[in-house]
Symmetry: C2
């Protein structure tokens, strides 16, 4: 770990980072004591002493917030959605003692809710989000049973570690449960081989079922929906400059010419310029009389020049991201490229500024910079906090700002909707996490040497096979500290609670319920899935911890979706392909590791026999891409025509069509009291920071 102060081990470091900042509950404390009992060397003792210190502090803090949670004065922190929907009062002001007793009612309520109820109250996106948890629980229940009852005994009764290195056993007691302890060339390794095949088959089967279920739910959801503006509208970009210099006129002429029977109206997009006047942008929302008309216009290339009259399905009106309507095809394309480069640079070079800032804040440097603090810095407690706490705090702060930065990058890519931006940011954060938490931890050595490894692809399996199992205990601690504590801070809403407390002092109030930040939550959940699948046959001890994470997460997020978060948009489950692709990547990583491990363990036949599995997994992914992905990209002719026929019988249609031309009215053109809302739209990224 090149970004750590020299004295610290990576395990020690990240555990502390997570614990310190997030806080930990009493359960975590017990679990870490169990881990501590397994491995009791001197450095580990120091580590777990710190963990206990932080754990205690966090437990008290969380307990307090648990009690606060039941006080109506914090309703807008813990049930803001219900407050916003007017289902409960904001605050009664009174203090009741019985509210200090903990209750488990919310757990029962979150558990009993059916998927249909969730769908009707929170939309399909939330349902798809929850299916990540049900999918993961299914996978890791089976994996944990196999891991604990089959692989763990095999690993434990091996003698490899005793044979090779019998002095240092206490230090490696966790390794006794990993594949490292199985003897080289042992026939028992074939059990591990079978597990790799079985897990791949099982996960692929579940992936197929999920994709099928979600895509058919998506179609049913479309059929069942009321007529909505975005179903009748396309976004047109690259409108060529007309002779009159007015985009509006040339749009009307074009669509009257080529879509005369279905064209209804259009709204040209404006952006406010610096001098407060509005500038027309060569983009417009064009509405049609039927869904079919809109679908045809968005699916077909409109103009002979492919860079003009570029159409796409319009987002929902509430989902439109107004600020960045870049004028031309070329500008959009260049900004997209710039963003890709920036994201790669941020991902690869992220650790360099972290190390630099960490280097600035060591005790000696501080003493030189601020000589007047020398007295305070010499106190043992203060110096302990600075050496132990500050580096991890810096890393944590840097990690915290990554999702907002990625959101900012995605918003510059020229996407027209907030949902598309968030989905793109989600992918970027996921890649960032996998690279900086998994690979940077696993592969030791300098950044340049890591790049070297990836320029020699055939060495990757072996290098990973050496490095990954060695980090098993670190990642177990990571799941406990980062995963479990993130759930507890999610349910106790630490950050909003602090914000509200500060605001209460200042006297201002902000009642708007926020939407679930998919771009920071989904990557974390998917990363735990990756950890689980990667370690399933290497060190199965991680599986119960992960299973607990997913079970807790299932309850916690169901509660949050019902009470806390207000959906900001509805994409009909477009998130799932990201989840699918991430899981396929995890499977490929698992197989690459298996190839390396069996090579190291002197079972080259098994190593070779994994290759067909790798190819089959790729083929499976390709098949799913053909079979299901188009459903998430556009609606079929069959769907939209059926929908149009249903709409014909809908008595609200005339009224709906009457309102349609104003659905995409630019917020900047609305009266003043609504203009505040526009300014909110204008700065969503700052508010999400």
């Amino acid at each position: 770990m090149y970004f750590l102060p020299q004295r610290m081990k990576p395990k020690e470091y990240l555990v502390e980072k997570c614990i310190n900042f997030k806080g930990a509950s009493a359960i975590i404390y017990l679990c870490l004591k169990f881990l501590k009992n397994l491995s009791t060397t001197k450095t580990d003792t120091v580590l777990y002493m710190r963990v206990i210190f932080c754990g205690k502090f966090s437990t008290y803090f969380h307990l307090c917030s648990w009690l606060w949670q039941k006080q109506p004065s914090y309703n807008h922190v813990y049930i803001p959605r219900l407050v916003a929907e007017g289902k409960t009062k904001k605050s009664s002001g009174d203090f009741h003692l019985d509210r200090l007793l903990p209750s488990t009612g919310w757990v029962r309520r979150a558990w009993q809710l059916s998927e249909d109820d969730l769908l009707s109250s929170t939309g399909l996106d939330a349902v798809v989000f929850m299916r990540i948890f049900t999918f993961s629980v299914k996978v890791f229940t089976v994996a944990a049973v196999i891991g604990i009852f089959i692989l763990l005994p095999i690993n434990y009764f091996g003698t490899q570690i005793h044979a090779s290195d019998f002095v240092d056993i206490p230090n490696k007691s966790l390794d006794l449960f990993s594949i490292a302890n199985v003897n080289d060339g042992s026939k028992r390794l074939w059990v591990h081989f079978c597990v790799v095949y079985f897990i791949t088959a099982f996960v692929c089967y579940l992936l197929f079922i999920e994709y099928q279920h979600i895509s058919s739910t998506r179609i049913a959801y479309f059929y069942a929906s009321k007529p909505q503006p975005h179903q009748f509208t396309v976004l047109v970009r690259g409108v060529p400059v007309s002779r009159l210099g007015k985009f509006s006129e040339s749009i009307r002429v074009f669509f009257m010419e080529y879509h005369s029977s279905t064209y209804l109206s259009h709204t040209v997009v404006n952006t406010p310029s610096r001098i407060k006047s509005l500038i027309e942008v060569p983009a417009a929302f064009v509405s049609f009389k039927t869904c079919y008309g809109a679908a045809v216009a968005s699916d077909m290339r409109q103009s002979d020049n492919p860079t003009e009259w570029v159409t796409e399905q319009a987002p929902e009106p509430r989902d439109v991201y107004w600020p960045f309507f870049s004028p031309s095809f070329m500008q959009r394309w260049i900004s997209k490229l710039v963003v890709v480069v920036l994201s790669i640079v941020l991902t690869v070079l992220f650790l360099i500024p972290v190390v630099f800032v960490q280097g600035l804040t060591n005790l000696d440097k501080l003493k030189t910079l601020f000589p007047f603090l020398k007295g305070i810095l010499n106190i043992t407690f203060v110096s302990q906090v600075i050496t132990g706490y500050l580096p991890s705090l810096i890393l944590t702060l840097f990690l915290k700002i990554v999702p907002p930065i990625m959101m900012l990058f995605s918003s510059m890519q020229g996407f027209s909707s907030y949902s598309r931006i968030e989905r793109s940011a989600c992918t970027k954060v996921l890649i960032f996490t996998v690279w900086n938490i998994f690979f940077a931890n696993v592969l030791s050595g300098s950044a340049i040497r890591q790049l070297d490894t990836f320029l020699e692809p055939k060495n990757i399996p072996i290098k990973l096979a050496v490095a990954v199992p060695a980090q098993a205990s670190f990642f177990i601690a990571y799941v406990v500290t980062n995963g479990w504590t993130s759930l507890s801070s999610e349910i106790f809403r630490v950050a909003p609670l602090l914000c509200t407390s500060v605001k209460n002092c200042v006297g201002s109030h902000d009642d708007e319920a926020q939407s679930l930040p998919f771009h920071s939550e989904v990557p974390r959940i998917l990363f735990f899935g990756l950890l689980g699948l990667t370690y399933v046959f290497l060190a199965p001890l991680i599986l119960p911890f992960l299973l607990a994470y997913f079970c807790l997460g299932y309850i916690v997020y169901r509660n949050q979706l019902l009470d806390v978060y207000e959906p900001r948009y509805e994409t009909g489950g477009k998130l799932w392909p990201t989840v699918h692709n991430s899981t396929i990547f995890s499977l490929l990583l698992l197989q690459t590791l298996a190839i390396g491990i069996f090579g190291l363990k002197k079972l080259p036949v098994a190593s070779t026999l994994i290759l067909p599995l790798l190819i089959i997994t790729l083929l499976f992914n390709e098949y799913c891409r053909k079979r299901f992905l188009p459903v998430f990209e556009s609606h079929s002719a069959e769907s939209v025509i059926k929908k149009d026929r249903e709409n014909e019988n809908d008595p609200t249609m005339p009224e709906f069509l009457e309102k349609l031309p104003t659905a995409y009215r630019d917020p900047a053109l609305k009266p003043n009291q609504e203009y505040a809302g526009y300014r909110d739209h204008n700065t969503p990224l700052l508010s999400s920071v």
Copy 2:
């Protein structure tokens, strides 16, 4: 060269192969004498003795065929298209002495023809094919001027080769003209650096102009065309089984349901089974009343299940490839994967069977196998022919069967049209040629070591930089022998002449004019373009030879397109994206080589400064892909609607629409005399072998 008999050098080998089989004209003979004067070592003398021997033989042969060409009895060999179109008599039978005098009239005629004339007489595909030559002539005129007048003197006045190795100068006299002779670290290398930048910019500029010109020609060609069946028709595959078990009924119901206003008729595809009865395939040609109707149906996903009701633009009726209508989505997908694997295997492992067969046919083995031939084999001339001629003949024969094999592979991929199959085969043959002629020659060592090189990407530039310049003289000889002779054998039509002579003896005649075999011709031309761009700054001596090839080719193929080949289909220039991509690949290869060369020549700054150029080239390609490629994939709404309006005023439209339902009638259902034609369709691949 691992596939050669031990004694032979690669240069010697391939020159001989090409010369022996193709024959060479007197000009080639002189050119090779010039090359011989440049490098006169002992082994080279042996080589060029052989060349002269073969060259003489070929010259006589070609002279004979030139004379024959003027005899009307060979009209169906030299002007089959005119014969087929009835513009000239097949054979008069008389012999006239004045016809023995050579004429140059055809050169003037081919030269004077304007592009519009060519377009009207041979279609857009032929025009696009000819634009490969005009494009290449422009590129290599500029490149040759720069190469000969700027780079060649700089190279010649360097002293690197004298300094490093002054004993062996005669053997390396060709290298004196290459970049190898410029001193390491010399500032003159910056001239080469500028040339790399200039050539890239110039080629990109030309590529852009060409793409723009061809795409606008394509659109204009569509507007100017008469109404044609394929503009009104889509091919539907994956028709689900109806309750009645009849596809025809379920197709009618589906399109009446969802395209009631534009649907006209449909024709279900049948394939003949082994027991002579017809089997309905779940595919159909569905015709519409307007182009727009067909375009909408082909651009939109039709069904909620993306693997059912899969639509695509129909090919022309004459272009439909009937034999392989694989029933299901899954089968088509699997056969495609199998074909991809087979093509890769053929490309990578091609040289293994060649070496094996070559090993079987050496003199000693033959003596053991056929003891009774011992007397004949001991004759010096026979043994010379066998040792010198047989290995190259075997390689040539193996190379000759590659294009038909690739055609066979492509036909198994489930494409619906002959044009699509040929385009796919064209790409496959191109990749095959680049790998087996360029890389296999350039990189010495075993096949496995080559693969190793490509698994370590960062070593590629250096390895190529060492290997490629060393092969300059070999590739000059390759251009002369393979390129020039292929043109001469094209104009003299050696193979058809022999076929006809044989058939004349047997007494059968086949008057059908063949179409230009794009899949074997285009890869050769593009490969010469790759050679030229690769060697432009390494060894500019190759450029005049290439320029001569492209100038000759321009005249020869214009003549062939007018008189010999009958277009089998018209795709509207869909070939050009392949040409564009191939040229971009050549530029990237040039830049990769430049990175390696400047590294070797101790000018690392130049090496680094090439990197931005590489990225800019990739971006340029990406931009072209967005800007022009869609034009080649489908027609825009604007195009088809304008076309429909024009058609409304066309008096022939009612008659056309009346005939439309029968345009895609299965040849198997036509009366007997037409069934012969069907059998031809059924075996196009055997006839093209």
